[in-house]
């Protein structure tokens, strides 16, 4: 248990020390990386252990809010993911951020993130989840806004925080409702009594789900995640692909374990599953028309998160968690690969200005292909096994959702093949791309290491580290589902090869998808500008003129004439008035009480 406490607080201690260190730019990156490596060792050591420990954080009356650690397969497995990807991202960042003036701040924030994420994973108590939930939001805000001088980065950071806050409004409400229903906040002793109406339970679950909608960027709060790509690319790999955005899925599955999967039946489960399914589809469609290498990956993350959420809604949380596990490795790999490309091509992110990188950057190219293979579910890669289980769960419960999931399985290989062909094959379409050189070992090694789990994390040998493993994970059958998956893969990739081979401009132009269904624009123009800003201005106007103007100034004019009287009697200055006023009040008290 002591190791678990160290695992939780070491990154916080390092972050705090980093703020106080002299000569921090030289020391902090290495200190943070060492801390990340230490947490990985601790996490591997904790795999398979169980137990709980907690202390009183806030005790009031009969209520004790506790901060504690819950060790079980789910939390220890998730810690392997968080620290495993974490340490590689730290190493990669050593090279990626070498010339950044504010790299001490960057690594401090990374450690703050590691602390917050560890807190969510190990939390034994719902309030603790919420506390760390908000803290990952903060570290995400700080890291997206790392280059805050850039208007777009500063705006993206703010947008991410606000979208999460909207979700957290529901999350907190849901926690309060669930607390009154179950009478406890501890995951280990949560139980829904039969006397409580089903609609109240559903309401509380849906409110809690709002939190997951925000953090895991599901429709309709998905808009912040693509913008979050303004942050440094290693951050996108760690926070906005592998770990933080998966926290919503993790939290829902934790709840499913505590309350029992049957509670997620009925309306709550349906809403969750459909939200996930629709997000998966909409995001995959939007990815098809993106030109920024990171944005394609961001929409793909949205889409894969949709798969996971859908699985939880279908009461197949194990399948969702298993996909979370495999996705973390291959998506981190893809993002770091994109980072290597961006680094080598002088921050060129438009895939149409890249091209021909496979020859110039063979390590990056090959590992990117490995990650891509896992994402598009090439048979026997990690993504193949986990996606099959989700499709399987959908087929059993909701045929429509199953076909939506299959459509996503066609679109995924389509946009990924498009990305690979355009960026890595053909001729170079810009100076930056034609002068690209392979990255150094600090960046290449994390890519090579990540390629291993990206390929094999779905197989049985890796199951010991997975946070949850469905019954039939890693099995392989030549059944109809297999053939549907292969057909989807061939259709998607084939269409992309036919369409994009040798092209130097996008032959497809679908404004609806390019403009992301106009959702961002609608939010910006309607919700922010009209609903919020104009309404706030109107309220302010009413406040000024009705409440202040009529009600209050009426009274104050009456009082002012009284004051004027006093003024004539006194010195005529505010000072005199105030003293007279004070004295008067004291006299009034004195006489009222006295007589």
């Amino acid at each position: 248990m002591n190791q678990a406490w160290i695992l939780l607080f070491l990154p916080l201690a390092v972050a705090a020390a980093s703020l106080l260190l002299p000569r921090r730019t030289a020391l902090v990156p290495w200190l943070a990386t060492a801390s990340a490596a230490a947490t990985l060792v601790l996490s591997l050591h904790l795999v398979g252990s169980t137990g709980t420990a907690s202390f009183d954080w806030a005790s009031v009356g009969g209520l004790h809010l506790r901060v504690g650690i819950l060790l079980d397969r789910l939390s220890t497995g998730m810690m392997v993911v968080v620290t495993g990807v974490g340490v590689l991202v730290h190493v990669f960042s050593l090279a990626y951020m070498r010339d950044d003036a504010a790299k001490a701040r960057y690594f401090t924030c990374l450690q703050l993130f590691m602390f917050s994420m560890t807190g969510i994973v190990l939390a034994s108590d719902f309030i603790m989840t919420f506390i760390f939930w908000e803290l990952v939001g903060l570290s995400s805000y700080l890291l997206i806004g790392h280059w805050f001088e850039k208007t777009s980065a500063a705006d993206a950071a703010k947008k991410a925080f606000l979208c999460n806050r909207v979700g957290d409004f529901g999350f907190l409400t849901g926690i309060l409702l669930l607390w009154s229903i179950t009478g406890t906040l501890a995951f280990s002793s949560m139980d829904v009594p039969t006397s409580v109406s089903a609609s109240l339970v559903t309401a509380s679950l849906l409110c809690i789900f709002c939190g997951a909608i925000g953090k895991s960027a599901q429709l309709p709060l998905h808009v912040w995640l693509p913008d979050a790509m303004e942050g440094p690319t290693p951050v996108s790999a760690l926070i906005h692909a592998a770990t933080m955005v998966a926290a919503g899925v993790y939290m829902l599955f934790r709840l499913q374990l505590s309350l029992g999967a049957e509670v997620f039946g009925g309306l709550a489960g349906d809403v969750i599953a459909w939200t996930g399914g629709l997000t998966a589809l909409a995001a995959a469609l939007m990815a098809v028309q993106q030109d920024d290498i990171k944005r394609v990956l961001a929409y793909s993350t949205l889409s894969q998160l949709g798969y996971m959420v859908m699985a939880v809604g279908l009461a197949a949380g194990e399948a969702g968690m298993f996909h979370l596990f495999t996705h973390a490795w291959f998506k981190a790999l893809l993002f770091l690969g994109a980072g290597a490309v961006i680094h080598a091509c002088h921050h060129e992110q438009d895939i149409w200005k890249l091209g021909g990188l496979m020859r110039r950057m063979p390590v990056t190219g090959a590992t990117f292909l490995a990650g891509c293979a896992a994402l598009i579910a090439v048979p026997f890669t990690s993504g193949f096994f986990s996606k099959e289980l989700i499709l399987d769960a959908a087929r059993g419960h909701q045929p429509v959702l199953f076909w939506i999931a299959v459509a996503v399985a066609v679109l995924t290989p389509f946009y990924m093949t498009r990305l690979v062909i355009v960026a890595f094959f053909g001729g170079s379409r810009s100076d930056a791309a034609s002068h690209a050189r392979e990255v150094g070992p600090l960046m290449a090694v994390p890519l090579l290491v990540l390629a291993v789990p990206a390929l094999i994390a779905g197989n049985r040998i890796a199951h010991g580290f997975a946070p949850a493993v469905p019954e039939r994970a890693g099995e392989f059958h030549l059944n109809s589902l297999f053939w549907i998956s292969v057909a989807a893969l061939v259709a998607g990739s084939g269409a992309a090869i036919l369409l994009y081979r040798g092209k130097s401009r996008d032959p497809l132009s679908i404004p609806l998808l390019r403009e992301r269904f106009y959702i961002d624009r609608f939010y910006d123009r309607f919700i922010v500008r009209h609903l919020q800003d104009s309404a706030a201005a109107i309220v302010h106007f009413l406040d000024e003129w009705i409440i202040n103007g009529l009600l209050v100034d009426g009274c104050s004019r009456a009082a002012a004439s009284f004051g004027g009287l006093l003024r004539r009697m006194q010195s005529g200055h505010l000072q005199g008035h105030a003293f007279a006023f004070g004295l008067g009040v004291l006299l009034v008290i004195y006489f009222t009480v006295f007589f």
């Binding site: 302010h540 406040d543 505010l574």
Partner: protein, 477 residues
């Protein structure tokens, strides 16, 4: 012993008037008070802290101080904690040193006395004593439209005080004593009709002092015009007098009366959180925005009071309110202090004219960011602990079998406030500190070592209580 907390600032005031160097004297008194307040927080059970002197036979008025419970300790600690930074922040205009620092000390002494008094007369009188220098400072040394702001706050708080006085006098006559502990014991005999009327007067009176909607419009202009120490001390400390009074006087003495006004109270507190929250969003200047935000945040405290009115036996609402008062006091004082610093170096607080300050002034940005995050209820900083406990208290007596009641609906609507405050605070951070610098903003100097001390003191308090709220909650057990 407790008298020293009031006497130190008063002695310093006399010394300053007699010609002692104003700033060092004031700082020494405030530092001594802070040490004393910390000592009080550790040893407040000891009878040595109490003091009583009969100043009048009929009616029996005692100059009496003491710690009837932990709530007074926390408020005294808050007063001392905000006073030192208030003294250290900003500089007096040339030649007005004695007025500037003297007034600051007088406000502090008045607040200290009000929170420590155990006699109703001095409870009220000390607050009035603190208001006078507040008005004077705004009127004479304030910024912008200072005379209008000074008039407005004087009239508002004056009227509020008179309504309050009527309620207190009525209450004292029915209870037959001015000793607040004995008043609470005698309160059981007060009939329901009088309770209702007294509660109305107290809610109106105390409420106006705390900027309860719709009696809030004095706050934003007053804080925008007030010199920094006054804004810090009034928004951070003195304003809490009204809430303290509702908890200390109204709740124990007229519980049935408070219960009768539950529904209007729920509506008004939503006015604070939602209506004033939206007003805050549309503020274009940082000072007005901060003033308006502090009006909004009072809504959470009224929510705790409403919970107590509905369920006097609720075990969460009272400690939650006290913790939140402490947290809000510290955080708003920090924000006002740093806003003043921004205005002195950048020359403006207009959000449109600022930008990119985090580049030339990273420490300023970090500390202001901590204050802003505290104010929007980020965990790890004190305000979150207070807010979450207030929300939990609203659901404490909720029976899931009976369906959701008005208290829970109000609470859920109030939680929307966490989104609203994030909207305006993040917008302020974005406009002031992020983005490219332009013009004068590129030349803003970062905080000097001496300037960091007061801010760090407040940040340390926010962090300590935020990371381990039991520090304060243990005093309220």
């Amino acid at each position: 012993m407790l008298t020293l907390l009031i006497l130190f600032p008063l002695f310093a005031l006399v010394a300053i008037l007699a010609g002692a160097p104003a700033r060092p004297t004031a700082a020494a008194a405030a530092s001594a008070n802070l040490l004393l307040a910390v000592a009080a927080a550790v040893t407040w059970h000891h009878p040595a802290w109490e003091f009583s002197l009969q100043v009048l036979e009929t009616p029996a008025i005692h100059l009496a101080f003491g710690f009837p419970d932990g709530m007074s300790v926390v408020m005294v600690l808050l007063t001392a904690l905000v006073t030192l930074p208030a003294v250290l922040t900003g500089t007096a205009p040339a030649g007005r040193g004695s007025l500037w620092y003297g007034s600051t000390l007088l406000i502090s002494a008045g607040a200290m006395g009000a929170f420590a008094a155990t006699d109703l007369f001095f409870f009220y009188a000390f607050h009035e004593l603190a208001l006078i220098p507040t008005f004077i400072m705004i009127g004479l040394l304030g910024r912008g439209n200072r005379s209008e702001a000074a008039w407005k706050i004087t009239i508002y708080l004056g009227l509020g005080s008179i309504v309050l006085l009527a309620g207190l006098v009525w209450l004292a006559m029915l209870a037959g004593t001015l000793d607040m502990t004995r008043m609470a014991d005698a309160a059981g005999h007060i009939d329901a009709g009088s309770q209702t009327s007294i509660a109305a007067l107290l809610i109106l009176g105390f409420g106006t002092l705390v900027s309860l909607f719709p009696f809030h419009s004095w706050a934003a202009p007053a804080y925008a015009s007030a010199p920094a120490p006054v804004a810090m001390l009034h928004a951070g400390v003195l304003k809490k007098f009204g809430l303290y009074g509702l908890l200390r006087v109204a709740m124990p003495m007229v519980p049935e009366g408070m219960q009768a006004w539950l529904t209007p109270l729920l509506v008004l507190l939503l006015g604070n959180i939602l209506w004033c929250g939206w007003v805050t969003i549309s503020h274009k200047r940082l000072d007005g925005m901060l003033g308006s935000s502090s009006v909004m945040h009072m809504g959470y405290l009224f929510l705790a009071i409403a919970v107590l009115a509905a369920h006097p036996a609720n075990d969460l609402a009272r400690p939650a309110a006290v913790l939140l008062m402490f947290a809000h006091g510290v955080s708003i004082a920090l924000l006002f202090a740093l806003a003043d610093r921004i205005e002195r170096t950048a020359g403006t607080l207009d959000l449109d004219d600022l930008g990119g300050l985090a580049t030339p002034a990273p420490v300023l940005a970090l500390l202001f960011g901590i204050g802003a995050m505290a104010s929007i209820g980020l965990p790890g900083l004190a305000n979150f602990a207070g807010e979450i406990l207030v929300f939990l208290s609203a659901f404490r007596n909720f029976d899931p079998a009976s369906g959701i009641g008005p208290l829970q609906i109000t609470c859920i609507l109030a939680i929307w406030g966490v989104v609203i405050s994030a909207v305006y605070m993040l917008r302020a951070l974005r406009r002031i500190f992020h983005g490219p610098t332009f013009g004068a903003t590129a030349r803003v100097a970062d905080l000097t070592l001496a300037e960091r001390i007061p801010a760090l003191l407040l940040v340390a308090a926010l962090l300590a209580v935020g990371l381990y709220p039991n520090l304060i909650l243990n005093l309220l057990r």
